[in-house]
Every structure is written in structure tokens, then in C-alpha cells.
């Protein structure tokens, strides 16, 4: 028995170490390569550490503000993801309140109808969504990425589910004291649903930041696009691996903001999914 546990323990360690190494090495490789010169990469090939550490790649990246304005792209991404996240939090909290704390005719029927429709494969609405964005005059503006995602039902479902765990007596006693819905929402419910809002906010932020297909479609103006769409252009700008360091440096710059967010909010990222699977399970 004792031996068995030991063997399985070493097997588990071995497996985890191999997987973590494979998972970490590409990012480290990207970082290291971004500090190597082109001649060094070409002549020396792959190395664990640069022969000479150089920062010219990053200087060049930052100086190229015409064909690859990466700081502009990063700023666009930050603006889009932040605005999107704030609006998501506002929309899902008031809508979740409506569907879980208020009484009106056909409430649950309405909710589950919308939820059912939202399961419809969204590839079908891709092309008309572009047309709608075009009609609204939002092509090549941040709104093209900020607003459409607010219509989703997934986060509202989570908030509604979370609110169901809050006793109704809280609302009722406040109502006896003459509090309006707005007051109950802002003073009682909102503080209590903070955990679920943080979780939904984090996932909205990273989801928006990493979205790829949609920005590739709605942005054609180099100065207006977010960094994910911009990186697609980089393959041509620094093309054919003539400027490897710049290519890697740009990829690393694009990763940094979400990584920072992860390290500051790590516990929420993990608790997040507990919440999610708690509901499903």
C-alpha cells in the first residue's frame, strides 16, 4: 500500500514537471529571443540565453509608429477591454436583479427563452452583426468591440444564480422600511454580489483582450485596431523572420497586461471556476 502511493506520487510529479516545462518554455523562449539580435539568432540558432542581451528590438518596436504602432494597439486594447468590462458589470448586475429579485408576469419564461436563443451557434449571426455595426457607424471604432458582447446571457445566468442564494427577507424588510428597488439594488444586493461580479469582470476583460476573429473583421484601420488584430499584421510587417527580435518583443508586450491582471487577481481566476462548476455540478 505504502509503496503504491509512493510510485504514483513520483509518476504524478514527473508528469506535472514535464507538462509545466513544455507549457512554460515557449513564453520564456519568446522573452529570451526578444533580447537577441537578428544576426545572433540567424548565426547561432536556438540558445537558452542570448550571447549578448540587447534592448534595440524594443527600441525599434516603440519607434515604429506607422506600420506597427504597438503602443497605440495596446492602448486601444486597454480602452476596449476596460470599457467592455465596466459595462458588462453594470448590465449583468441590473439585469440579474430584474430576473431574480423582481416579480413580473412571464419573468422566468422570458429569461429562459432568451437563454435558449443565446445557445444558437453564433457563427450564424457573424455576418449580419458586421452589417449592424456598419449601419451604426461603428466600424473602426472601439464601440464595435465594446457593445455587442454586452448582449450575452452567460454572465447574467451566473449573477441570477448567485442572487438566488441571497435570502429574500433582506429585500422584504427593506421594502417594509420604504426602500425602493433602486435602493435595495444599490445598498443591499450590489455589495453582496461582489464576488460573482469580479469573476465575470475578469473573464470579460481577458475574453475581450484575446478576441481575434471579430476584431480582424471590424478593424481595417491600423491605428484603431486592438493588439490581437495588430499582431496578425506583424507577420507581414516584420515578415519572413527578417526581424525576429521585434516580432517576439511585440508578442511579449501584448501578453504583459493580462499576465499582470492574472498575478494581481489570481485567487479570483481560480475561485471563478469553482463557482461555475458549483452551479453546473
Amino acid at each position: 500500500m505504502f509503496e503504491k502511493i509512493k510510485v504514483s506520487k513520483y509518476l504524478a510529479y514527473l508528469f506535472l514537471i514535464i507538462v509545466s516545462a513544455i507549457w512554460a518554455i515557449p513564453v520564456l523562449f519568446g522573452i529570451v529571443t526578444s533580447f537577441r539580435s537578428q544576426t545572433e539568432v540567424v548565426n547561432e540558432g536556438f540558445r537558452l540565453l542570448p550571447v549578448n542581451w540587447i534592448v534595440e528590438n524594443y527600441v525599434n518596436i516603440l519607434e515604429n509608429t506607422s506600420t506597427a504602432p504597438i503602443m497605440q494597439w495596446l492602448w486601444n486594447s486597454i480602452f476596449i477591454a476596460t470599457m467592455h468590462t465596466l459595462l458588462v458589470v453594470v448590465v449583468i448586475s441590473i439585469t440579474g436583479y430584474g430576473y431574480s429579485r423582481m416579480k413580473f408576469k412571464g419573468r422566468d419564461l422570458l429569461f429562459f427563452t432568451l437563454l435558449g436563443i443565446s445557445f444558437f451557434p453564433n457563427v450564424v449571426n457573424l455576418i449580419p452583426s458586421y452589417k449592424i455595426i456598419d449601419i451604426l457607424g461603428w466600424v473602426n471604432t472601439p464601440w464595435a468591440m465594446i457593445v455587442p458582447g454586452l448582449a450575452g446571457m452567460g454572465n447574467i445566468f451566473l449573477v441570477r444564480q448567485f442572487m438566488k442564494g441571497i435570502p429574500m427577507e433582506l429585500d422584504e424588510s427593506a421594502r417594509v422600511d420604504g426602500a425602493s428597488d433602486f435602493k435595495i439594488f444599490s445598498r443591499i444586493i450590489l455589495p453582496l454580489i461582489r464576488p460573482v461580479l469580479i469573476v465575470c469582470g475578469l473573464f470579460s476583460f481577458t475574453g475581450s483582450w484575446n478576441d481575434f476573429l471579430w476584431p480582424v473583421i471590424v478593424y481595417t484601420d491600423v491605428n484603431k485596431m486592438p493588439v490581437t488584430a495588430g499582431l496578425l499584421l506583424l507577420q507581414d510587417v516584420y515578415g519572413n523572420y527578417r526581424m525576429i527580435g521585434q516580432l517576439m518583443g511585440s508578442a511579449i508586450l501584448a501578453i504583459i497586461p493580462t499576465l499582470l491582471l492574472f498575478f494581481f487577481a489570481q485567487k479570483y481566476f481560480v475561485s471563478a471556476i469553482n463557482l461555475n462548476s458549483g452551479i453546473k455540478g
Partner: protein
Amino acid sequence: MKEHGKFAPLFFVGPHIILFIVFILIPSIYGIYASFTNWNLVGSPEWVGLDNYKTILANSDSTFYSQFFNGMKNTLIFVGLSVPLMIVIPLMIAVALEHKEVKFTSLFQTLIYIPGLVSISAAALIWSLIFNKQLGVVNNMFGSEQVWTATQPYAWITIIIITVWAGIGGNMIIYRAGINGVSKDLYESAEIDGAGPIRKFWNVTLPSIKFPLIYTMVMTTAGAFNVFAQPLMMTDGGPRQSTTVLMMYIRDLAFSHGESIAGVASAMAVMLGLVLLVISAIQYYIMNKNATT
């Protein structure tokens, strides 16, 4: 006691309903409608009945026909290759992390989770270099001369590797939470019955995490059907369109620089959506049935 006014609920759920109608309901209906028209994104669409569907499904002379079947085939290859790995690998990791004597679990988990936060285009730039013919890590390490992204089956292998690398973090955490929630008594009574680690996994762990498994399988499959970024950036659909997925054709037909062929593209999108719906339903049915019997 003050009940809320008649219009108060409208204030709370109304704004979202408007968003829902404009950005989900109308585009979904219009997407189906457009598949029966010769829409070009600009003019007003003209009804053509089932013509688009006849073209992509039955007219073997048409390029749309070969694009549709090639794109659908490649999308299904991607789904078939990636989804099992995206379920099995994170499950193995979660089991290893929940081993009672394994330490540093949060370090391992962080290392494996981080690629999920890297945007797919940044990941593709790094991995393209790793697989680069002259300069890459893989060929340097193994002394091979392979042009990874331009030869099959290596083109698929690179696409699958980057997909698994970037995509397993979420599932891993869901499985960990599920395994964590399994009652310790179940394992103890299995141990008393003389069950080894493998039997404990099959008889206790797997049945207990049925819901997380169904959930991740359906969600991962749905995501895999929409695959677009990995083949676009890693292989650009090559070699000879053998990794061009349906989403790439849909985007090219609807949004390329020439005249948009949004009607045909919509018909392809509807077909892709239908296949996805059917497969999700089958998955749900089989998993649910197996788990209850």
C-alpha cells in the same frame, strides 16, 4: 409595504433586452434569412430560395462546393483531433494535482494556466518561430529539416499543439474543482474493497465529475467548431488548403476585398451551426445516458 411600480422591471431588464434584440436576435434571424438570398453586404438581398444550399451541397462544379466540403472536412478534422486532447490532458493534470502527496500545486497550476491568458495571435507568433525551419527550437533540438507548417501531417500537429497549449487551463480548473468536491468517503470505501488508483479513477472519480465532463465537452466542441485563428496564423490554411477551416472560407467570402458573397457565406455558416447543434445534442445525450446507467 411598497411594491415596485409597473415599469420598474422594465428599467432593470429592458436595456439588456434591447441589446439582445439588436446584437443577437436580429443578426441570428437575418443570418438565416440571408442564406436564402444573394446578399452582398451592401445592396438589398434578393430571395433565391435554396440556390445557395444547392450550390454548396450538390453542385460539384462550383468552387463554393469544394470550399464548403474542404472547409467542413478540415473543421471536423480539427474538432476530432483537438477535443479529445483538450479533455484528456487537463483531466490527467487535474488528477495528478489532486494526488494527496503532491506539493507545489499552485505553481504547477499557474504555469499551465498562463498560456490561456496569452492572446492566440501572440502565441502563434512565438510558436511559428519555434517550428521555423532554420531558426526554430524543434529542428535545432532534433536535428530535423522538416518544414513543419508546410507539410502534412506536421501542419496539423503544429495547429493542435498550439491549441492544446493555449486551451486546457480552464478545463483543468473545472476538473480540479470537480475532483475536489468528491467525497473522501467514496475513495476510502473503494480502498477497503481493494481498489487500486486506476480502479478508483474509473469507478469513483469519473462518475462523480459527470457534469463538469459534459459541460467541458460541449463547450470545448463548440469552441473547436469556430476555429479560425490557429490555422490562419500558423499555416495560413496550407499546405494546398489542407488546413483551411470553414470559418476561413466564410470570412473570405463575406469580407474579402472583392465583392462580398455574403449569401453563400451565410449558407455555409448555417450549415456549420447545424452540424454543431447536432453534435452537441448527441454528446449531451450519450454522456447523460452513460452516466445514469
